[in-house]
Amino acid sequence: MAKKYDTPLLDELEKGPWPSFVTEIKKAGKKSEMANDELGQLEKSYRTKRGYWKHGGIVGVLGYGGGIIGRYSSLPDEFPGVAHFHTVRINQPSGWFYSTKALREIVDIWDKYGSGLTNVHGSTGDLVLLGTRTEALEPIFAEYSSRGWDLGGSGSAMRTPSCCIGPARCEWANIDTMEICYQMTQRFQDELHRPAFPYKFKIKVSGCAVDCVAAIARADCSIIGTWKGKIAVDQDAVKWYAKNRMDINKEIVDMCPTSCISYDGTKMTINDDECSRCMHCISKMTKALKPTGEKGVSILVGSKAPIVVGSLLSWVIVPFMKVQPPYDDLYGFIGKIIEWWDENAKPRERLGEVIEMKGMRSFLEHIGVPAQPQQVKEPRKDPFFFWKEEDLKR
């Protein structure tokens, strides 16, 4: 397919040493009119400083309410190739592990029905395929689902749960993130495909507080691996770090948020009772420090990361919960969280916003979790006084 548009402004973005999205769209444009027109419309947007995409609509596959994000050009006569340019979300495997064969299967189907463009993984975690027409959606779904793939979540639904790579490739994982994520994806199929919530609900699972999937910043329910025992200290390894020019006082002791570490130049001591399990010291001194004892999860709720304003970080509500297959306790607990949110939220309100409006007291009472010191977000600001009418009368 011949080059269709001159793109002097986009061409600027091909200069420099790094890979360029413009180059990739141009490559796809050699085989796809959609990619060609995508380039033409984008150049026009750069020239006029206006966007020409329309969002939403009724696109989807029969029976599903999510997984396809409708996208239309507002200039269909000028750029007919992108008159429809819908996004398809494919539910990713836990930890984003693929064989090369699986990836070829996905892109071969996409070349057949779509623009040939993908940005692989969006911030949701799903595998994101960019640009197809409405009439291609059912055949795309049929082909992917016949090979064991499924659509991910979108709209007012449970979004595809995601997790870090956990024990598959990381020495810090306190829990099997991939198993938890996989089982939750199976358990919440209905909530994922049939939008019944006031707004989106995201679950992300991190193996430790380093939080590689940024659950604390993005998930309505963050499940983060933690431990109950002491941090084992290998004093020989501590000496090795000191010998190799680590300034232990500056980089570790002074950076500890609870000031529970001391170092006298030869020996490191940790007051485990004061430790908040933030993982800073362990991630910096991997050879010397190691969590021990019982492993489990901390559950935090209420974060969201909108593009412009209103960002919230997650709030600890359960400092430690033991989790093990078949994870019924975890499902039940998440079910209660969703139930309270669903009862109290207006359309387009995320869990964190509803907690801010209705109060943590109402939330904790519904989910049956007592007020605990670990839930205090800022000293002297979250007293959790659960006064009731009868208390005031006394």
């Binding site: 609509g57 009724i58 309410g65 999510g66 409708g70 059912e138 007012s156 049939r194 359309p347 387009r348």
Partner: protein, 82 residues
């Protein structure tokens, strides 16, 4: 109540809101359940069956999902009418 009769009630409920209010799934469950005195889970099952065959459909707009009566265009795209 027979399931077919319940489905007609659900359809009538959604039709009555057409052009006035975007109904969330929960609105339909609460509304129909209260109207006909049937458990919400039964209403949900009946509604899901209607969605599966294209009698109702999910729609998305303004950041929220709703349930609607499909347009002819949608039914044609899905090959449910010619």
């Amino acid at each position: 109540m027979e399931i077919d009769e319940l489905k007609e009630k659900i359809f009538a409920f959604v039709q009555a809101a057409k052009g006035k209010k975007k109904l969330k799934e929960k609105d339909i469950l609460n509304g129909v359940s209260a109207e006909v005195g049937v458990d919400k889970d039964v209403v949900k099952k009946a509604m899901r069956e209607m969605i599966d065959i294209g009698r109702l459909m999910y729609s998305y707009g303004g950041g929220a999902s709703s349930v609607e009566i499909p347009s002819e265009e949608y039914l044609r795209e899905k090959g449910l009418i010619k």
